[in-house]
């Protein structure tokens, strides 16, 4: 039973960190309607930025992370302005492919200039696990989950502010927002910037948990499962979806991997995506759009 609880708790904590990775995708989809498949690469890029500032320049983490956040905010703004704004009105396949192109470009760019070998990013989180009643809890995941919850709650609160209200209006209807004087372009740009900032949080935590290299961009896959399950435009969905994906992705492989020889986590994630799409395409909390001829 201890084994089960260990899988359950660590799975839930990882799931919350997946939710943090997924938050950026939701922020962008919510306002712009663009599925950002480059978000994995943006997380990777953030981790590289933090690594550059902290290890190569030698700044303290308290400075390195905010600096990276500023850079990624600008990166998000620029990506939206230069790439995505030109794609308005194009078929969805073009937009998906564009973000994948960005993903491939970044995956070449960062390791190309900084070396492909994994780099360690030390956030000062101890390696020793916390032991509660015989259950080993990974300290990195625990802090990660706490930050993730904080970030998600912050973004929920943000949507209550004046700017957040504008973003919500934009996410509801672009044309109506325009007609009441909201700059839709600016709102979409800001949501890209915010996604960049959330990528920094994800990059710092995942980078410290598994090292900084291109494999960070593969976080995209679980993040997609989270947003599909939770609903592409729901922040609550990210929280619940993250917990479910994390728990299922930890408990099921925990018992199945020894039987079939590994790798069932990807299978569980795939099945979650497939099952959600076939049963309830808009996810648990997603908005359902009605289509007319």
């Amino acid at each position: 039973m201890t084994y089960f609880f260990e899988l359950l708790i660590n799975g839930a904590l990882t799931g919350l960190m997946y939710a943090l990775a997924a938050l950026g995708i939701v922020l962008i989809y919510k306002s712009a309607g663009v599925p950002n498949l480059a978000h994995g690469a943006m997380i990777m890029l953030s981790a590289y930025f933090i690594y550059i500032f902290a290890s190569m320049v030698g700044l303290s983490l308290w400075l390195a992370i905010p600096l990276a956040a500023v850079l990624m905010f600008v990166f998000g703004l620029v990506a939206e302005r230069v790439l995505l704004r030109r794609m308005v009105g194009q078929p969805i396949i073009m937009i998906v492919m564009l973000t994948l192109g960005l993903d491939i470009l970044l995956r070449g760019l960062a390791p190309g200039f900084l070396g492909a070998a994994p780099k360690s990013l030390n956030l000062g989180i101890g390696l020793a696990p916390i032991i509660v009643e015989g259950v080993f809890i990974n300290r990195a995941y625990l802090y990660g989950a706490a930050v993730a919850v904080a970030m998600i709650v912050l973004s929920l609160l943000f949507f209550q502010t004046r700017l957040g209200t504008k973003l919500r209006a934009v996410s509801d209807d672009h044309v109506s927002s325009w007609s009441v004087g909201i700059s839709v372009e600016r709102a979409i740009g800001i949501s890209w910037g915010l996604a960049g900032v959330s990528a920094v949080a994800a990059g710092a935590l995942w980078g410290s948990a598994q090292g900084v290299d291109w494999t960070l961009s593969t976080l995209l896959f679980p993040a997609i499962a989270v947003v599909i399950l939770g609903g592409l435009d729901s922040i609550w969905g990210v929280l619940v979806g993250g917990l479910l994906v994390g728990i299922l992705g930890s408990v099921v492989p925990g018992y199945l991997d020894p039987l079939v020889g590994g790798g069932t986590r990807d299978v569980v994630t795939s099945l979650i995506i497939l099952g959600t799409i076939l049963v309830r395409p808009n996810g648990m909390f997603g908005r359902e759009d009605i289509e007319r001829v």
Binding site: I92, V96, L98, G101, I104, G108, V293
Partner: protein, 357 residues
């Protein structure tokens, strides 16, 4: 001047239905075909087997995907998995002693049956959700192949293609392999070029343009979406088998990974969605450009013109590939086929530019 034509005017119904209304186009196509047939005499073995042959096979695969994405408008991000099913089926069938000709059919059928399962998702959702569903299926197929030793061939996970012969010609000879790939590419080209002239193709186009509207005018959307997945997966499965026997001669799961699926989508998009010549151009672009670029960068670095680390050298093709996909989508969303079309339109009336409207 080159086309020797004052305009395209149809005087008969048969003339209007011609595949190439402009005679010069027909001569061009025949000329290219003749060059392709004579290629083993014209170019060295190395170029034949490492550039021309893969180009033809990848074009065949891109054409199979064109049927689905360009003609029927269904998105597919797991096409490499479909090809993997074809490749593994063909190899297992030939190992079991089935003649290669029938193994190819078996590969196509197996891929078509499993590929239609991908289509089951298309019956329920479209657009972005279809992308995600096919992406998830790619992972499932990959995992199944890797983790079932009976399929992947045990610990090493590499399965040698047995020596077979196609219509009496041994498929281990480089020239025969090339002709095998060429034959399949030509068959597919003719098929895709003609498909829009059939009732089946027109129904697919109607579904692509708006599935609800197609249903209103009496197209059975359910049937045609599934048929599109079936046909395209059949062709993709055979292409996978051709790839395994003509090019790789052995299969491993990595040859059909998710990245390869993205490559196929990139080929179709960069070439020009739904265009036959686009599949050829797109396949050349996505497949050959990184190779050329790698060689170029390596040559430049070796000669000392530009100093760069080994590491940067090895990542430049990836950057260029991503950057070019972005550039194409931004600056020429209709792809290489549109560029070809622009050039052709220019020369169609050259030097009388004013006649263009």
């Amino acid at each position: 001047m080159f086309y020797r034509l004052a305009g395209v005017y149809h005087t008969t119904y048969a003339g209007e239905r011609k595949l190439w209304p402009v005679p010069a186009d027909r001569w061009q196509a025949l000329g290219v075909l003749a060059l392709a047939v004579l290629a083993p005499l014209l170019v060295g073995d190395l170029y034949l087997s490492s550039y021309l042959l893969p180009w033809l096979v990848w074009t065949a695969a891109a054409l199979s995907l064109t049927l689905l994405m360009g003609v029927a408008g269904q998105l597919h991000f797991g096409f490499a998995a479909v090809m993997a099913i074809g490749a593994y089926t063909a190899i297992h069938l030939t190992r079991a002693g089935v003649p290669f000709e029938f193994a190819l059919l078996g590969a196509g059928l197996m891929a078509a049956v499993i590929g239609s399962l991908f289509g089951a998702a298309a019956l329920r959702v479209k657009g972005l959700y279809l992308v995600m569903a096919t992406l998830a299926m790619q992972y499932l197929v990959d995992w199944t192949i890797i983790n079932v030793p009976a399929i992947s061939g045990g610990a090493q996970a590499t399965l040698q293609a047995p020596e077979v012969s196609f219509l009496g010609a041994p498929m281990t000879n480089g020239t025969v392999q090339y002709y095998g790939a060429l034959l399949w590419a030509v068959i597919l080209t003719v098929f895709i070029m003609n498909i829009k002239r059939t009732a089946f193709g027109r129904a697919l186009v109607a579904v692509r343009d708006k599935d609800f509207a197609a249903a209103v005018i009496g197209v059975n959307v359910f049937k045609y979406k599934l048929l599109a997945f079936f046909t395209s997966s059949f062709l993709g499965g055979v292409s996978g088998a051709v790839l395994a026997f003509c090019y790789y001669e052995a299969v491993t799961p990595e040859q059909f990974s998710f990245d390869v699926s993205i490559q196929f989508v990139a080929m179709v998009l960069v070439g020009g969605l739904g265009s036959v010549i686009g599949a050829y151009l797109g396949a050349a672009f996505v497949l050959l450009l990184p190779i050329v670029l790698t060689n170029l960068v390596a040559a430049l670095a070796d000669s000392g013109v530009i100093a760069m680390s080994q590491n940067l050298q090895s990542h430049i093709p990836l950057m260029a590939y991503g950057g070019l996909i972005i550039a194409f989508l931004l600056f020429e969303p209709l792809g290489l086929a549109k560029i070809y079309d622009n050039v052709r339109n220019y020369f169609l009336v050259w030097p009388f530019q004013h006649t263009r409207n």
